[in-house]
Structure formats: C-alpha cells, structure tokens
Symmetry: C2
Subunit: 85 residues, 2 copies
C-alpha cells in the first residue's frame, strides 16, 4: 500500500476516534467515568505530534493530530462544564 495513503487512513481513524466519545458526553452530559488526566496528557502529546509532523514535513501526521487536538480540547471543555453535575 502507498505509505501516504496508509498514513492518511491511520490519521483519519485516530483523528475521528474521540468523536463518538464527544457525542456521547454531549448527549448524556455525564463525564464521571472519564479521566481528565488522560485528556490533558493526550492534548499535550497530540500537539507535539503536530510539531513533529511539521518538522518531518508529513501531512498525514499534521492533519490528523491537529484535528484530534481540537476534538480533545472540546472534550476537556465539556468535562469541565459537566463535572459539577
């Protein structure tokens, strides 16, 4: 398989992976079982992957991780809003 396409598929999957979690949190407004520490470490790591992608000039890495950063920041904001419930 073309490695660029492989990277784009891999990136698309890891980028959208948090979407079902975000949708579930928005629907149920329950975040009790979710680890905020996971979200913080994940956002830090994904941001560094974006930087790595720029250094290596690899578009699949930049795009997928940038999208995942946005989704997980949204998830963290939802966590902060709903945790008081």
């Amino acid at each position: 398989m073309n490695v660029e396409i492989l990277g784009l598929i891999a990136g698309a999957l890891t980028a959208v992976a948090s979407m079902p979690q975000l949708i579930k949190v928005i629907k149920t407004k329950n975040v009790e079982d979710i680890s905020w520490l996971m979200l913080v470490i994940l956002i830090s790591g994904l941001s560094l992957w974006v930087w790595y992608g720029f250094e290596q000039d690899e578009l699949p890495i930049i795009l997928s991780n940038a999208f995942a950063v946005l989704v997980n920041i949204t998830l963290l904001i939802c966590y902060l809003i709903f945790r008081e419930k």
Copy 2:
C-alpha cells in the same frame, strides 16, 4: 529541538495518555460513560500507525503506537467485563 527526541516525547505522551483512564476504570469498575466505539476506532487507527511507522522506519511512531494499542485493547477488555455492572 532534535526531531527524533521531539517524536519520542510526543510518542511517550500519547502512549501513556490512556493509562490514567485504564487505572480509573480498574479502580471504579465503571465504564458507563466511556464510548466503546471510540476504543474500536482508536485501536484500528493506532495499529495502522504502527504499520506506517514500519514503512517510514520511524521508531517513535512504532513504539508509541504499539504501546497505545496494548493499553487500549486492555481498556476494551475492561469495558467488556465491566459493562454488565
């Protein structure tokens, strides 16, 4: 910053990100608010990243994603065990 070191730090962060979630699930035995679909998509995507890492011969990508696959498979197994609760 050396790009290899940047990748290793990014990889270490995204690899360990799911650990606090796994520890929380094992402690509380509650998985109600976690999306199983997220775990399935994530495991698929991370596995493809391992493949991509081999194709590109990039050790940070291989190591971090392989570790993350293991953690998330464990999380999925915990989900399946505890969801009946």
